[in-house]
């Protein structure tokens, strides 16, 4: 008997392209289960990926899907949502795709509070291109382009998204996937911009240089470093430094959502246009030339 998630999966395209131990599949699984629970209609759901291993998840999902260009998935998704507001549009992106080359689009999508759901797979590295540093690579970590160790500080993407105006922000890990599934569901149902950061292991490109214990140790480490928002509130900034703060970190209702706001502009402008046409008609004595 086929699994429930298979209705949303291009099973004919399996096995997938990801390396053994990669965490992207774990989060993709959570996404598929969230789709099942929400009963999303395949013809009204669009999944947009950027470029990278994470973004490739879009190609396994059997709804309308787009594999776009590096960093710009949110911009494509904005066009889709504005053209077809009835669609549920979900963006899958990586930490390089979404936070480096696409960082500007991310903050502007947050600012607009457009009704999209963005799932960012944070594997702390550029996986697809072979292990270069990403904006989420930790201080001191090794990468092919940081052979002496990374000396830049990563973002706190959830705080960035919140500050930029996202109205639903959550973070989870592949090591504890059930809550991530829940965040994705809530995010999709949330009528505004939902940002979900999923911390995932990349044993091949990040782990082999930085985590000698292999992927199980990486997952254990994710678990050990995860704390809740409430716990985080009791810690000093120094104590928080290597922690992964998980949970729904921000949820705001009432901030205007872009597509709906624009729809009300359209209604107003159309009414005005009709009124002006009428005035013109009566001024010219009803004669239509």
């Amino acid at each position: 008997m086929p699994l429930d998630i298979e209705q949303y999966l291009h099973t004919e395209r399996l096995p997938h392209m990801w390396c053994a131990g990669c965490g992207i599949g774990i989060v993709t699984g959570a996404f598929l289960r969230a789709m099942v629970d929400l009963g999303l209609k395949r013809e009204e759901t669009v999944v947009v990926g950027g470029v990278g291993c994470s973004s490739r998840a879009a190609g396994y999902v059997d709804v309308g899907t787009m594999h776009t260009i590096h960093g710009r998935a949110l911009a494509f998704a904005t066009g889709i949502k504005m053209a077809r507001p009835e669609f549920t549009v979900i963006v899958l992106t990586g930490d390089g795709d979404g936070a480096a080359i696409g960082g500007n689009h991310l903050i502007h999508a947050c600012r607009r509070n457009i009704d999209l759901t963005c799932i960012l797979f944070n594997n702390q590295v550029y996986g697809m291109t072979g292990g270069q540093v990403s904006p989420m690579t930790g201080w001191g970590d090794l990468a092919t382009t940081a052979p002496y160790g990374q000396v830049e500080t990563p973002f706190d993407l959830c705080r960035l998204a919140e500050a930029a105006g996202a109205t639903f922000v959550a973070r989870g890990t592949a090591a504890n996937i059930r809550p991530v599934e829940e965040y994705i569901k809530q995010g999709i149902q949330h009528p505004g911009f939902a940002f979900i950061e999923a911390v995932v292991p990349c044993p091949m490109e990040y782990g082999k240089r930085n985590a000698p214990g292999g992927v199980l140790a990486m997952l254990d480490d994710e678990k050990a470093r995860s704390i809740s928002k409430a716990e985080a509130a009791r810690l000093t900034p120094e104590e928080l430094e290597d922690k992964i703060v998980t949970g729904v970190l921000h949820h705001k209702v009432g901030r205007p959502e872009f597509q709906r706001s624009y729809a009300s502009i359209v209604a107003r402008a159309q009414a005005e246009a009709a009124e002006q046409a009428e005035t013109l008609q009566s001024e010219s004595g009803g004669a239509v030339s």
Binding site: G64, M66, A75, T78, R268, A273, E283, S284, A287, S289
Partner: protein, 407 residues
């Protein structure tokens, strides 16, 4: 036509904002109005049925997006000012793949930012209209000095082997009708179409009415916005479009793909696919190449020109007639695909082809490749931010045919 009511409406401040609007325009179509090139472009887009525009401000193109920002919601369309040109064109492609047709407008620097996504649009066969109102320079240059410096960018700006449809407007009526032509070509061939205008063409005001645009005029009946519609005559050349959200819930990718929409690494399939993208455009040169010949067959010199230079070339031809100089003018509205036949036919009969351009001979190089077997091709480039005058062209013609007399 009631002139009193029209002028009464035009007098009020609110109506001044509206003068270009659909409903109002219907009332004043009969008389011609002083219309700016950029506004005529927006009008053409609206008349063709464009309902999605995303852009980012840049002189000298911004009036196009300003007009669209005002007009689109009035006709139930969508306008978004995005965070940059990259986002703008990506949003347009998203809309195009959702069954709309996306349009954007920019100038050289913004056009450069769009290039990667243009490659993607070609690959995923997204119909798209991009207007580049060209200004001088690389970089900021002189923002309101006219130029034709983006001709090669329009042809080869994006990566990879790809087809290109590039039109060039020379006056306000062109801005209207060529925008419509761009929409039609984009729709028919499911590929991005670039409309080039020199700054002066975007900013000039001329008397204009859609009724008076003459040749190559299209009307709303020439457009079919049914999502996924393929014109029957192109059914064997244009791939069936993948429209998001349809029953087929397709996959769209910029990777070389086969008919399923999914990537393929098969060498034969990849090559065939790339050829098909190319051929669907180049096999239809006859339809795509719009041009005018003045004084056909009567010149020893043919001035080949486009954009603002074509206006000067036409004026030069009239002056030449007065002075008894045998000049013809080949006015190109389509720069790419190259109008090979048209150029070679003229090349066979004239001694010289003179190409005045506001760049250092970008198009002259193309003409030379096509024509040098039969004629002498002379490039006349100018990059000081001023126009090439009819007199300058005429002087050059006079020199070429050995009749130079100082005037």
């Amino acid at each position: 036509m009631d002139n009193r009511s029209t002028s009464a409406v035009l007098d009020s401040v609110a109506a001044m904002e509206l003068w270009h609007s659909h409903l109002l325009r219907e009332k004043i179509d009969q008389s011609s109005l002083l219309v700016q090139g950029n506004r005529a472009c927006a009008l053409g887009a609206l008349d063709a049925g464009v309902r999605f525009f995303a852009g980012y401000p840049i002189t000298p193109s911004s009036e196009i997006m300003e007009a669209m920002a005002y007009e689109l919601p009035r006709v139930g369309g969508v306008f978004v000012q995005m965070e940059d040109e990259i986002a703008s064109i990506c949003a347009c492609i998203g809309a195009s793949l959702s069954g709309w047709l996306g349009m954007t407008a920019t100038s050289g620097p913004g056009f450069s930012l769009m290039q990667e996504a243009i490659g993607y649009a070609i690959m995923v066969e997204a119909p798209l209209v991009i207007v580049d109102v060209m200004r001088e320079g690389p970089s900021t240059g002189r923002v309101s000095a006219p130029s034709q410096g983006d001709v090669m960018q329009a042809r080869w700006g994006t990566h990879g082997d790809h087809p290109a449809i590039v039109l060039a407007a020379s006056n306000v009526a062109d801005m209207y009708r060529l925008t419509m032509a761009a929409v039609r070509f984009a729709q028919r061939f499911r590929t991005p179409v670039t409309l080039l205008a020199d700054e002066v063409v975007g900013h000039m005001r001329e008397s204009f009415s859609p009724e008076l645009v003459g040749r190559y005029r299209l009307t709303s009946g020439d457009f079919d916005f049914t999502p996924g519609y393929v014109h029957p005559d192109l059914a064997r050349e244009v791939h069936p479009p993948h429209i998001l959200g349809s029953e087929a819930h397709p996959h769209v990718t910029g990777c070389t793909h086969d008919e399923t929409g999914f990537p393929t690494n098969d060498a034969k399939k990849s090559e065939r696919f790339l050829h098909e993208l190319y051929d669907k455009v180049t096999n239809h040169r006859d339809e795509l190449c719009l041009y005018d010949v003045k004084n056909e067959g009567k010149g020893r010199v043919c001035v080949v020109a486009y954009g603002s230079c074509a206006r000067s070339a036409r004026a030069a031809w009239r002056l030449a007639e007065l002075e008894g100089l045998p000049v013809e003018v080949l006015h190109l509205y389509t720069l790419f695909p190259l109008p090979i036949e048209v150029i070679q036919t003229v090349a066979r009969r004239v001694e010289f082809m003179l190409i005045p351009e506001l760049n250092l001979g970008q198009y002259a190089r193309e003409v030379r490749k096509l024509a040098e077997n039969w004629t002498t091709v002379i490039s006349m480039g100018k990059i000081d931010g001023t126009l090439i005058t009819p007199r300058e062209i005429l002087d050059q013609v006079t020199r070429l045919i050995g009749k130079y007399e100082s005037v």
